[in-house]
């Protein structure tokens, strides 16, 4: 009788310990705050799983041109004989052709094959204009530059992500200017510029 009771007792103690230990796990819920700096409060708000994918497409201008993943041989921004004060500009339509929302940033790179560094002298302006202004050697993006957008080649053009819901489009106008104070050593200098629009799922 006594032995039986003791056994039963030990079993119950063990179970209680286990329950208590398991309780520690639950208590750990209370410790969430300790780790709040990781994720703010998002740990207990449910996690959204994002299906689908994103697909960022581009086209020249806003007209009937087809969208493409990459625009190669892009000549709309070309300018062959820039003298100080000249500018060129072009509108690029960005489309999220995927099934999930995205944000995109833009950056540029430019070559310096003749080591004259025309790319370093050119000034960039990025706006949300849907059409360029001016003509000839003074084509511009007439609007206000997008906040925190880049002003030179070989760097970030858009540093604040622009949201783009699935299947929607937006326009980006890029203007490149040779400042009036450009050095005479830039005569005949050439640069090939590449713009990269990078969409990130959000």
């Amino acid at each position: 009788m006594k032995r039986k009771a003791r056994r039963t007792y030990s079993v119950r103690i063990s179970q209680r310990v286990r329950a208590a230990l398991s309780m520690g796990v639950v208590l750990s819920v209370a410790a969430t705050g300790t780790f709040a700096f990781w994720t703010d409060s998002s740990t207990i708000t449910g996690t959204t799983f994002t299906g689908g994918s994103i697909k960022l497409n581009l086209k020249d201008g806003t007209g009937a041109n087809p969208f493409a993943h990459d625009l190669t041989g892009y000549a709309s921004l070309n300018l062959a004989t820039m003298v100080p004060g000249n500018s060129t500009a072009a509108v690029i339509t960005v489309k999220n052709a995927g099934t999930a929302a995205l944000t995109f940033l833009a950056s540029s790179s430019a070559t310096n094959p003749d080591t004259l560094n025309l790319a370093g002298a050119l000034v960039v302006k990025v706006t949300a204009d849907a059409a360029t202004g001016g003509s000839g050697l003074a084509v511009t993006c007439p609007g206000t530059a997008i906040a925190s957008s880049g002003t030179s080649l070989n760097g970030s053009l858009l540093t604040t992500p622009i949201a783009l819901a699935a299947t929607t489009t937006t326009t980006i106008c890029v203007q490149v200017t040779l400042p009036s104070g450009a050095n005479t050593s830039l005569q005949g200098a050439t640069t090939n510029a590449t713009l990269t629009f990078t969409g990130t799922q959000n």
Partner: protein, 465 residues
């Protein structure tokens, strides 16, 4: 047993920096798919390596878990360039971190469970589970002797002591079994929740974010080059000995607006302003009575620059010359027209060596035993020099005429003679030049005028043995 394990995991998480990660998206696929649960270990920057899969916070407060594509170390920090395995491009901006959560392993799909547990229903069930555990803890203590505190905690949870004892003595063995199987079942069922709880507390939703980059390439931007001024289209001389003038004109570049400056060198004089719009003009005046201005090559240098940006000066100027005579006479304007030059004899006909000598000596040839070639020339300003290369190939031996003998230098022009304003000849003995056994000959004659304009003429002929 299971509960202890969970506690150990929980403790391990705290002590060793282990951290579950829930993958919300699939850019690390196929390595780690959407909904995977990964266990990551907090790792100092110094211990991170290229190729590791790490989770780092983004500037927007979310987390991204991607593979290290490249990294730079800066003091204790690392600057990581991350890229999802399924992405074509790396993440836009590098991440500067002092430490990162390195993924140790991952389990597919479990993250969905964790995600569900963190939803409203999951939280409700977790609450139930917590309540249940509390009840297990507080319900027990009645039975064992001397376990007083437990009795006081939850009296309603226990049946009366007497009845319990009696039941226990009657059904002891089976009671134990029931308890054990019951606790095992409870543990097994709870395991899921425990795991979920642990995961929920520390699991971080992480974006293995898809990225997609579109490139716009092929844009070419070129700066203008201020061109060399065009060749003057007009040069006129006028005036008297005390004030000779040279007036030159050239077409202007009007777009972009170009300004021209002129200067004078060698001859001392004055340079007027550059005038005109589509055609520019400048007048140079000098005193021909000044001995220093006689028999000189005066040079007018025209330098262009952008009217709107004067600092943009053309790198290539245009030099335009005029030749002053020995006396006080009018100067001669530079011209761009090359002289004409032609080879009269040899006439290209193949002859034997002796016949060639006879031919050249006679009136049909150059009519002189010391003129192995002759011809005509002309130039507006007069040809100043005439030189030549006369090459002979015997078998495979190549020799070139030096003016008096056959030598081996076949690249240097040899001076000939400008006989009159319209004729030229080269020197040497006809019988030596055209000696047996002859060979294949080629003659190149070059005439140069006062301004350096040049013209050449060539002839090939054969002299047989």
């Amino acid at each position: 047993m299971v509960g202890v394990l969970c506690i150990l995991v929980a403790i391990g998480a705290v002590l060793f920096g282990l951290r579950p990660l829930v993958f919300r998206s699939g850019s690390m696929s196929p390595t780690i798919g959407t909904g995977a649960l990964a266990l990551a270990h907090r790792t100092d920057a110094a211990d991170l390596h290229k190729g590791d899969i790490v989770s780092v916070p983004t500037t927007s407060g979310e987390r991204v878990t991607h593979r290290i594509l490249a990294m730079e170390r800066d003091d204790k920090d690392a600057i990581l360039t991350l890229k999802g395995d399924a992405n074509d491009t790396p993440d836009l901006a590098p991440y500067r971190v002092s430490h990162a959560d390195r993924v140790l392993f991952s389990v597919p799909k479990i993250g969905y469970l964790v995600g569900w547990l963190t939803g409203p229903l999951g939280l409700f069930l977790l609450g139930l589970y917590a309540a249940f555990l509390l009840s297990v803890i507080v319900r027990r203590p009645a039975q064992p002797p001397g376990d007083g505190p437990g009795e006081g905690l939850a009296p309603k949870a226990r049946p009366p002591g007497g009845r319990r004892k009696a039941t226990g003595s009657r059904r002891g063995p089976s009671d134990r079994v029931a308890h054990r199987s019951g606790s095992t079942l409870v543990s097994a069922v709870l395991l899921t929740f425990v795991a979920g709880t642990v995961a929920q507390v520390w699991a971080l939703p992480t974006l293995a974010a898809w990225t997609d980059a579109g490139g716009v390439s092929g844009t070419t931007l070129t700066a203008y080059t201020v061109p060399q001024p065009a060749v003057p289209t007009s040069c006129a001389v006028a005036g008297t000995a005390g004030a000779r003038t040279v007036t030159i004109q050239w077409p202007a570049v009007t777009s972009p607006g170009t300004t021209y400056a002129a200067s004078l060198s060698t001859v001392v004089g004055s340079v007027g302003s550059v005038t005109g719009t589509t055609t520019k003009q400048v007048v140079v005046t000098y005193n021909a009575n000044t001995a220093g201005n006689q028999n000189k090559m005066g040079t007018v240098t025209i330098t262009p620059s952008l009217t709107a940006t004067p600092a943009w000066v053309g790198t290539t100027a245009r030099a335009w010359r005029f030749k002053t005579p020995a006396g006080t006479g009018a100067p001669l304007c530079e011209e761009q027209v090359a002289p004409t030059v032609a080879i009269a004899d040899p006439d290209g006909t193949a002859r034997t060596a002796s016949a060639m000598v006879t031919y050249m000596n006679g009136t049909n040839g150059c009519n002189n035993a010391s003129r192995p070639a002759c011809g005509s020339l002309s130039d507006t300003s007069g040809v100043s020099t005439l030189d030549y290369i006369l090459q002979r190939t015997q078998s495979s031996t190549v020799r070139c005429w030096t003016g008096s003998a056959w030598g081996t230098d076949c690249t240097t022009y040899v001076a000939g003679t400008v006989a009159t304003s319209t004729t030229w000849y080269i020197g040497g003995s006809n019988s030596t030049v055209y000696a047996t056994p002859g060979g294949s000959f080629s003659l190149t004659v070059r005439a140069t005028d006062l301004w350096g304009n040049q013209q050449t003429a060539t002839r090939a002929f054969t002299v047989n043995p």
